[in-house]
Structure formats: C-alpha cells, structure tokens
C-alpha cells in the first residue's frame, strides 16, 4: 500500500461564524415586483375613464364593449347596458376617456350608427362587420360637466361634424324633398337637406339644410333656391327639350340655388338661422329677385260673382302690370248672406307686401292695415284676361275712382276679403274679329276726300268777296241808323208836338170862350139841336174811328206773322207791312177824319153861330150834355191813338227782335264752328267722316255759299227799310198823324172851343206820343245789340279762319283728333 494515491490538494477553510439572522438580498426581488405592480395598478386607476350614462329608446346593436366614437375615433366603451327603473328607456353606461370627458357638456349629442343604404351611397358600412357603435358630437369647449345624456334615434344632419352653414328653407310642399337630398350649385353638390317638417301653421314645409363651409360664401341673403327634382319638358322654338338634373335628384329630389344679384349679406349675420323660400322652378326663383326672401306673404281672399274658369292656382296677381302675388288656392266656401247659406267661390291670394310698396320692416299686422287703407281708397280686385289665346285669367288690383266706400276687415278669419269690381274679361275671337272688322270698315278714302273738300270749302268761304263785304255793309247800316237818328223828322218831332200842344191849348181856350159865350148867350135850345146833330156827327166820327182798331189788329197779326217768318221773308214782309202802314196812314179815310171833323166842326161852328144868332139857349144844357158825350166819344176814339203808337212801338220792338235773329245766326255759325272744332276723332271715325261730310255739305249748299250774299242782301234790305223809314216811314207818318191831329185839334178848336175835357184827353194822347218818341230814344240799346252782333260775326269769322289755318297747317289733325 505504498503507492496509495494521496488526495488532491484541497482548499480547506474554516467555516466562518454563521450569521443565521442575516436577511438575504433576495428580498429585493418581491419588493421590486410589488412596487412595479402597485405602480401599474395606480396608473391604471389613474387612467380609468369617466362613466357617463346615455338614454336610448332601444339598444339595438349596443352591447358591452360597444365603442363610443368621436370623429371616428374610439373614445370610450360601453361598460354596462341596463334599463331605467320603469323599463322605459335603455341606459347605456359608457366609460369615456378621461381627457375627453370634460368636453361632454349640454351640447353633446349621441346616436347609434348602423349601416344605412341610400340612393347616394352606403354609410356606416364598417358597422356591418364591426357592429354598431355609438357616435357622439360635441363642441370643442369644455363647459359644465354632464354625466347623463339622452341619445338621438336618428343621426343628426351634421353627423360628420363638417364645418358649414345651416339654413332653413320654406317650401309650399314637401313632396319633392327628402332627407339628405342634395343641394346643387352649377350641378355640383354643395350641401344637403335635413328631414322636412311641417311648419307650425301647417301651411307649408320647412326643412333645414346644410351648406358646406367652402361653399357657404356663395349663399347670401339675395340667393334664391329652387326645386330641381324630377325633370321638365319645355317646348320652344328650338324644339323639345328634356331637362334632368341628376339621377339622384330625379328620384330623391334636390334643390339648386344661384345668387345673381350681388349685394346680399353673407349668412349668419342675423340672430336667427337664415330662412329662404324654395321656388318651384328656376324661372320663378329668378323672377322673385327683387323681393326680400324671408318675407311672409299676405293672405287675402276674393269672392268673385262670376265664373273663375280660366283662373288656377299660381295665376298671377297684378297691380298696374306688376306682379304682386299669385293665386294660392281656389275653393268653395259657404257664405251666409241675408240669412241664407250660399256657396261662393273663394279665391285666395298670396300677396307680397314689398311689391305693393309696403316696407319690409312693417309687421304683418301693420302691412294688412296699410292694405286695408288701399281698399278704403278704392282698390278693388277684378278678373282680367291674362292670355287671350288660352283664355287664362289673372287677378288684377285696380284703383277704382269714385268707388263705393268699402272696407276690408284686417282681422277677419281666416283672412280678409277684398271687394271686387266689374271684370275685364274679353272673348278672344269676338274681340279680334271686331277689331279687324272695324279696321276694315274705316272709310279712309272718304275721310281724306272729305278733309280735302272741307279745306277747299273753308278756303272758298274765307276768300269769298261777300264775306269780306259784310263788315262794310254793317258799317253802312250803322251809318244809316245814325242818319235816321239825326234826321230832321225825328229832330223836328218835339217842335211839332209843341206846335200841336199850343194848337190844342188854343182850341181849349177857344172852347172855354165858346162855353162861356154859350152860357151867356142862353142858346140852349138851339144848341141842343145843334148838339144833336153834332152828336150824330161825332157818332160818325166814332164809327170811322172804330175802323182803326181793326187796322191795328191787322197790324198786330201782320207783326206776329212777320215775327214768325224767316229773316229774308220777315224783312221783306216787314217792309211790306210798313209800306201798308204807310199806305194806311196816308189813306184818305184816315186823312179824311180830320177833314170830316173839320167839316163837322165847321157845321158846329155854323150851328153855334146860328145858335148865337138864333138864341136857342134853353136847349143849350142838353146840347152841352150831348156835346160832353160827343167829346167823350172823341176822347175814346183819340184814346185808340196811343194804342196805335203802342203798336208802332211793338213794331219797332219786333224789328229789334228780327235784328236780334242775326246774333242767333251768328251764334249758330259759331256753334257749328265749335262743333267742327270739337269733333273728336276718337269718336267713331265714321261719325267724324260723316260730320266732315255734313260740314262739307253745309258749306257746299247754296244756302251756305250764299250766306254772305244773303247776309248782305238782308243787310241791304234792312238798309232799304231804314231808308224807307227815314224817307217816308213811320216817323214822318207819325209826324203827319200828329200834324193831322193838330189839324183836327185846330178844327176842334175852331168848332168846339168850349169842351175842356177834350184837352185832358188830348194831353194823354200827347203823353203817349211822348212815350213813342221815348221808345225811339232807346236807340243806344239797339246800337249796342248791333255792335254785339257785329262782334259775334267777327268772332265767328275768326274761329272759321283759325280752323282753316289749323287744318291747312296740319291736315292730319283731322285724323288724330288734335
């Protein structure tokens, strides 16, 4: 065992003292682990979201872990879905990210996004696989925190949080509007519609619309929107055109807009959402450009009595040719009139106050009040023909002058009624035919010929020598009249009268002497016989004198006859009558009267002488009585002399009247001229022609042509008459008569100086003769009338000259009526 292997060198150390109580470093490991875990837990707790609660009608598609998305980014998860206490709603508890939660305030809205397939495309396709999710929308301002919300059943219009402008459109019907329908501008979609809803009155539809932000500036307050849904077919000169905007708008509807007039305010300036009217067509939209878009129309009604066939919904309402509204409805209503119910047709108008001149600022009530004042001033509604070919009617508002006062009750329900006036509906065919007929029947040729003839006649008249001679003739007449007045006969009349009076005075004085002597002579008995004889004589004189009234009556008849005669005839007859009077006055019978008286007086004188010589005084008293009677008879006969003078006066007056006819003729000429002047061509043209023809005829008649000549002739005759008067006429006849009376008086003076009563009667005669002379003294009036007549003739001549000149200068005025 010598080679026993020795053990290897061993590393042998004394074991150190055991430190049993030593804590190993290994405990750091669990401590570190714990620390890490705690930190993780803490951070998890810190990052934990905030629980919110959303109410939904139903929880379709919502379950635990359903995400809540904002701008398509998940910002929370549904933690629990439960019911509310009364099972009415579903409560969805969502754990929302901590940094999002502060933004959830009262403007936050939530809805469930599910797959949606529409004509414009498919939305929410991702939810087909991933399931529905809750989408939320809220603004970017953290206001008051809120933890409980009510979810929407349908996605809101601006679901995608697009920036843009919201507007409100007002349409009469929502038939062509659908939610999501596009808003097009020049064919490109720039927005879309929300769901249409009825307006609060039920009169129309309002729909919110969204315009994308980059296009919002295209919309101003002057923008007009119109409906482009469906398609339109238009037939024009270029043929048939079919307009379809887009397939989507064809089926789903769509609206377009345009801003033609600049100057509108951009959107969003006012406190409320901008509101626009939606028009049926682009044309209607463009026609409304001058109207404020967000202006309510004024609704009024009309009860027409006549048929409204041809009037339809949408027919225009015009005021003086300007479109101020349209017919919005025509329907039958029951109206109570006088206790009876009647069916009336009520036409409802929608009027635009701004087109009636009522300011946009006016409230609806005030606008209606102003409109009521229009009606009180005479505004009425009537039917007029809008299109004569189709017979379509329109309503026209007219201001009727002197209309019966009627009022419009602004508060009448459902709306006020405008009073109506007579309609102006014309039948096309009748009117057109009538117009053509009338044009066809216009006698243009005759009219022209008549005008030419008229001018020729007027020219002939104006250049007629006789007409030119008329003033000269008149002057001659006046000179003659002047001569008459200045003639010796007239001038000598007072002297003659004086002589006559003196003669009569002498006669009276002599009569007085005779009476005195008779009384003294006491020859009454003789005188009685003598007076008896004288009585017979006087009776004879009375008989002779009785013939005078007959003559006077005849004169009167003649005068009235002359009065009734034409001028020429009158003048001639008057002339003749005067000649007759002249003849009568120079008649022997008349002239013989004084002679007879003279003879009788001579006899009386002889008798008186006999009495004086014979002394039959006892009979004197009776004789005187008889003489008195005889004197009275003479007086009576003499009394007729004033009547004669009166007749003569009358005759002169009739002469005056005859002369006065001249102004009438002149006046008639004047009237004729005026009538010719005032003929209006607007009256029937045929009548104008006829008038011209008549004028022409009048002017062409011999009477008219001879008028100057006739005037001249008449004046000539008047001249002659006056000359006759002057030469052997009435004045000298009267003078002669007075001279004869003077002779008679002288004879009576010689024969019966003792009859004083006679002088009184003679005095009356003289007074009457004085009156006759006075009548002639009114020559100034006669000359005035003559001067007036002359002036009238001058005026007539001037008028005719003016007319002639006018027509000569402007022949067409006959046609145009100027």
């Amino acid at each position: 065992m010598t080679d026993t292997p020795s053990p290897a060198q061993l590393d042998v150390r004394e074991a150190g003292p055991r430190k049993r109580s030593r804590i190993s470093w290994i405990w750091l490991v669990p401590i570190a682990a714990l620390g890490v875990i705690l930190s993780v837990a803490w951070s998890t707790y810190q990052d934990r979201g905030i629980l919110i609660e959303i109410e939904f009608e139903n929880g379709s598609g919502i379950s635990k872990e359903t995400p809540l998305k904002y701008r398509d980014i998940t910002v929370g998860l549904v933690e629990k879905v439960s019911f509310a206490d009364n099972l009415e709603v579903v409560l969805v508890h969502v754990r929302v990210d901590k940094d999002i939660a502060p933004y959830l305030d009262d403007d936050a809205i939530f809805w469930v996004v599910r797959p949606d397939v529409t004509l414009r495309g498919v939305s929410g396709l991702d939810t087909v696989l991933s399931g529905a999710y809750i989408a939320g929308k809220w603004d970017t301002e953290a206001d008051v925190d809120q933890r409980e919300f009510i979810g929407l059943e349908d996605p809101p219009l601006l679901a995608t949080n697009d920036a843009g402008s919201e507007i409100v459109l007002r349409a009469p019907t929502g038939a062509s509007l659908a939610q999501g329908a596009p808003i097009l501008h020049k064919g490109l979609q720039v927005g879309f519609l929300d769901e249409p809803v009825l307006d609060p009155n039920g009169n129309g539809v309002i729909v919110s619309a969204f315009i994308e932000e980059q296009y919002a500036r295209l919309v101003t307050t002057n923008t007009r929107f119109w409906d482009t849904s469906g398609f339109s077919v238009s037939v024009g000169a270029s043929g048939l055109a079919l307009n379809v905007d887009s397939i989507a708008s064809l089926i789903e509807g769509g609206i377009a807009f345009d801003t033609v007039v600049s100057g509108g305010e951009p959107l969003g300036q006012g406190p409320r959402v901008d509101t626009f009217d939606l028009f049926d067509s682009e044309q209607a939209a463009r026609e409304s450009l001058f109207e404020s878009p967000d202006r309510n129309t004024m609704t009024v009604g009309i009860l027409f009595d006549e048929t409204v066939n041809g009037l339809r919904q949408g027919s225009a309402v015009k005021y003086q040719g300007v479109n101020v509204g349209e017919v919005s409805a025509i329907n039958a209503i029951v109206v109570e009139e006088n206790g009876n119910n009647r069916v009336r047709l009520r036409t409802t108008l929608g009027l635009s106050p701004s087109r009636l001149g009522i300011s946009d600022d006016t409230t609806d009530e005030d606008a209606m009040q102003i409109f009521a004042s229009f009606v009180a001033q005479g505004m009425r509604a009537r039917l007029v023909t809008g299109n004569i070919l189709t017979g379509a009617l329109e309503v026209e508002l007219v201001d009727v002058e002197n209309a019966d006062l009627m009022f419009l009750d602004p508060l009448r329900e459902p709306f006020p009624i405008i009073p109506t006036t007579e309609s102006l509906v014309s039948d096309v065919s009748a009117t057109a035919e009538g117009v053509l007929d009338r044009i066809n029947n216009l006698p243009i040729e005759e009219l022209m010929q008549g005008a030419v003839d008229l001018m020729a006649s007027i020219e002939a008249l104006a250049t007629d020598g006789d007409l030119k001679a008329a003033p000269l003739e008149l002057r001659t007449i006046l000179a003659d009249i002047s001569t008459i007045i200045a003639s010796d006969g007239i001038q000598g009349a007072p002297d003659t009268l004086q002589t006559s009076l003196e003669g009569i005075q002498e006669v009276v004085a002599e009569i007085a002497t005779i009476v005195a002597s008779a009384t003294e002579a006491d020859l009454v008995g003789t005188l009685s016989d003598t007076l008896n004889t004288a009585n017979d004589t006087v009776a004879t004189i009375g008989t002779a004198s009785e013939a005078l009234p007959d003559i006077i009556a005849e004169l009167q008849a003649l005068a009235s006859k002359a009065n009734a005669l034409e001028v020429e005839a009158l003048l001639a007859q008057t002339n003749q009558t005067l000649a007759n009077i002249d003849a009568i006055l120079v008649d022997e019978t008349t002239t013989a009267i004084p002679a007879t008286v003279t003879a009788a007086l001579d006899e009386i004188r002889g008798l008186v002488t006999d009495v004086r010589e014979g002394g039959a005084v006892e009979n004197l008293t009776a004789a005187l009585e008889d003489t008195s009677t005889a004197a009275q008879a003479i007086s009576e006969s003499v009394e007729t002399l004033p009547e004669l003078a009166a007749r003569a006066t009358n005759l002169v007056a009739q002469l005056e009247a005859a002369t006065a006819n001249l102004p009438q003729i002149t006046a008639q000429i004047e009237q004729l001229t005026i009538k010719a002047n005032s003929v209006e061509i607007d009256d029937l043209v045929a009548q104008a022609t006829q008038t011209l023809d008549t004028i022409d005829g009048i002017l062409l008649t011999e009477g008219a042509n001879e008028l100057p000549a006739a005037l001249t002739g008449a004046l000539d005759e008047l001249n002659v008459f006056l000359a006759t008067v002057r030469e052997g006429g009435a004045v000298e006849n009267v003078n002669a008569a007075l001279a004869a009376a003077a002779q008679a008086a002288t004879s009576i003076d010689t024969a019966a100086r003792g009859l004083p009563g006679l002088s009184t009667e003679t005095s009356r005669l003289v007074n009457t003769i004085n009156a006759v002379a006075g009548a002639y003294g009114e020559q100034s009036r006669f000359s005035n009338d003559t001067a007036a007549t002359l002036r009238d003739i001058q005026a007539a001549a001037d008028a005719v000259t003016s007319l002639a000149r006018t027509i000569q200068r402007n022949p067409s005025s006959l046609l145009t009526g100027r």
Binding site: L10, D11, I26, T44
Partner: protein
Amino acid sequence: MAGTGHTAGLITAREAGLVACRRCGQVQEQDVVSCPRCHATLHSRAPDSLQKVWAWLVAGLVMFIPANVYPMLITDQLGSHSESTILGGVVDLMHHHAYGIATIVFVASIIIPVGKFMAIAYLAISVQRKWVLNMHQRHKLFDAVEFIGRWSMIDVFVVAILSALVQLDSLASINPGIAAISFALSVVFTMLSAQSFDPRLIWDADRADAT
C-alpha cells in the same frame, strides 16, 4: 420508519464530516470550500435557502395578481377590440361550450400556479417547523414541483405564438396584455423559489430529532 421519519442506523454526510459537491457529486471533507474537481462552491447545506424560497415565492405571488386582473390577450378584429383576462377567457370558452380547452386553460393557468405556491409554502413551513412526518412524500412533492414548473409557461407560450402569428393589421391582431408578462414573471419567480429550496433540509429534521 417512513411514517415516523426516523431512520435508525443511518448517518448523514455531515455527521460523517463530509460534504458532497452538488454539481459533480464529488465528496470532500467538510472544511473544503470548493470542489477540487469542478470548482463548484461546496456547501453542506444551501445557505439562506428558506429566505430565498420565501422571497421568490412572494415575488411570484405578487406577479400573479396582475396576471389575473389585467387582460392576457388584446384582440382587434375588424374594428372590434376585445381584451380578455385569464378567467374571462375561461368563462368565454365555457360559454362557447369548449369545456376541454377551458379545463386545460384553467388547470394550466390557475390550478398549477396556485398549487405550486401552496406546495412550496408547505415545504418551506415544514422545514422551518422541523416536521418529521411524511418526509418521503414531501420530497416527492418537491420533485413534482420542480418537474412541473417548466410546463407552467404554456399560457405564455400560447400568447407569444398567437401574438406572433396573428398580426394581420386591420383585419385582426392579437397582442399580449400586461397579464402575459406578469404571468411569465410569476412562473419564473415560482421556479426560482422551487430551485432555491434545498431538499436535504427536509431530512435534517429527522436527524435533529434523533440527536
């Protein structure tokens, strides 16, 4: 004998003044510090063995909490996002009537880790209290814990494989959650805890009891 733990007539290496190298099995005298053959440090008993066991065990337990609270898998499938914890996954599987898979997942992810915690704690306590009963069973238990420890990572492997395979962008993707890391750490700590345990301590109680 086995029931009482007393092993009469046997002496231990320590009693014989020897120490065995745990690496190569070379027996040396007790005072030798390192193995002359493999140069491993020689200890008659592993130093601070129980402290290490407890420390690792506590760390494993701590990590086991988030492993069950936090999601293991984060699945994004066509926009739908789901996170599932271990127990949640088991419940889901059961709702889908996949009882077998549910059982496997439940056993591998819940039963085995919890059993390991309990086993290690039992061994450590028994050594500290110098229990003499069932020494052989305890040693077998220790062997079982050591053996099964490596298979505890199945869950983590599944998550790792799924995460690697299912990355189809938006269509579907699976990512590990916090729980996966926690669970892996928990398993690692538990294995370290089991490794720190010196099974010779089990038998020391018998010798001490004998002396």
